[in-house]
């Protein structure tokens, strides 16, 4: 379980996270939603130790992650923009990440799903944006980690790849993995997420099961529920 307590982070005068606390359950898919600049990426980067928060604690299975890098062995991460060293071939990048992680990983099934076999020997600079994103997904999921953190995973994916990606998420969930993802696509959340964290201007507006949110808004569609939250906030 991931437990966040009173997390604050500001960049200069800009307060991005204003003391948020939340818990992310094991074995479910949690979607972090929120408008642009609501603090989604900062939250995710804090979990990964890329952003150093001013106050608050983050615990992964009871252990504080501060000044600790080994906990990242338990996390597979998909960054938002997939830009890689240009001269490396896909194959070499995969080998490099495996080498750094000290783990072989299992790329083959992912390469099958996303049809990556044809590009393994191509340098990364020759790949299209969508193909890079597929490589990005494969890199995040090829290692058997208990937690996966995905920042805008569906960006640039074609419809077929999107379907396969959703299947992959469900499969991982059934294996008992904890998945945390950010997205703007409400339909995707509706389809796959169990829990929702709704961020608004650095505060948590809603955190809990998707069902609960629906009940609070009298069984409306998720899109309308979210619109309800946003409108309520403007009143």
């Amino acid at each position: 379980m991931i437990a966040v307590k009173n997390l604050t982070k500001s960049f200069g005068r800009n307060e991005v996270l204003k003391g948020i606390s939340l818990q992310i359950r094991d074995g479910v898919i949690t979607a972090v939603l929120g408008p642009n600049a609501s603090g989604k990426t900062t939250l995710i980067k804090s979990l990964l130790g890329m952003v150093i928060p001013q106050n608050g604690t983050i615990e992964l299975n009871g252990a504080d992650i501060r000044n600790n890098w080994k906990y990242r062995q338990q996390i597979g991460y998909l960054p938002q923009i997939a830009r890689f060293p240009e001269n490396l071939k896909v194959k070499e990048l995969v080998r490099m990440i495996s080498d750094i992680r000290n783990s072989e990983g299992n790329l083959l099934p992912l390469a099958d799903i996303f049809e990556l076999h044809g590009v393994m020997n191509k340098p990364l600079r020759h790949l299209s944006g969508g193909t890079r994103q597929k490589v990005n997904i494969a890199l995040a999921f090829m290692f058997d980690t208990p937690v996966y953190i995905l920042d805008e995973p569906t960006a640039g994916l074609d419809p077929l790849a999107l379907i396969r990606f959703k299947e992959l998420l469900n499969k991982k969930k059934n294996e008992g993995k904890t998945i945390l993802l950010t997205t703007h696509i409400v339909g995707l959340v509706d389809e796959i997420a169990d829990d929702i964290v709704f961020l608004l201007e650095g505060n948590i507006f809603f955190s809990g099961a998707l069902e609960l949110l629906r009940q609070m808004h009298n069984g409306q569609s998720l899109e309308l529920s979210i619109a309800g939250i946003l409108e309520g906030n403007h009143d």
């Binding site: 890329m50 991460y77 890689f84 750094i100 953190i149």
Partner: protein, 260 residues
Amino acid sequence: MIKILKYSFFDLIRSRWTYGYFLICLIISFGLLYFSRDLSKGIISMMNVILALNPLIATVFGSLYLYNSREFAELLLALPVKRSAIFAGKYLGLSLSLAAGYILGTGIPFILSGIAATDQAANFIMLTVAAIFLLFIFTGISFLVSIRYENSVRGFGVSIFIWLALAFLYDGIFLLALLMFEQYPLEKFALIATVFNPIDLSRVLIMLKLDISALMGYTGAVFNKFLGTGLGTTVSLGSLVLWVAVPLLFFIRQVKRKDF
């Protein structure tokens, strides 16, 4: 760290930049050797080129490399590796690939000219040592500047200005100060002022080795007079090591605090 170093090194030695630098060194070396027809003159001409060129190359490549690999650094930072190890690896990867380009680019022409069998071999080695020091120092400075400035254009500008200041402006101001205060004993001032400029230090280091008093210049002569060749060489080498270490330590400190 070794793994990051290995991959940045292999990524870089295949890049056009490193090839370009290698070719520049190759062409300059062949050109200078051809025109001067004399190894010792070739070494001196080479020194004059390298003192300006190597800091510039390291500055430009250091800035571009760090800014270009920002997104990729994100991917690495999420892996179970220490932050400082990632960036120390990148630093060594770039400096070593530049050093490899330099050693091959100048080594091939000078060895073909038969330098190994002459008394100039030691001088050439000293030139190479100083040149590689400059690559490491200016890679470190440009990395430090680039990590501090989020805006790549501004960071690049500051790095280039530092190069310009140390390569040209510093000497001008230094000479002006010497002229203005010529009535006063200035040896100590000159000694200290040299230590604060890695390019001057490298020049002094090579000059002390070449031991051509006519070419030593004022600072070289001061070093020679006050410290002697042995101690002078030790002091300048030691200062160059500090010039590598200090920016690098500040860089690593920045890396540990930075938000990515």
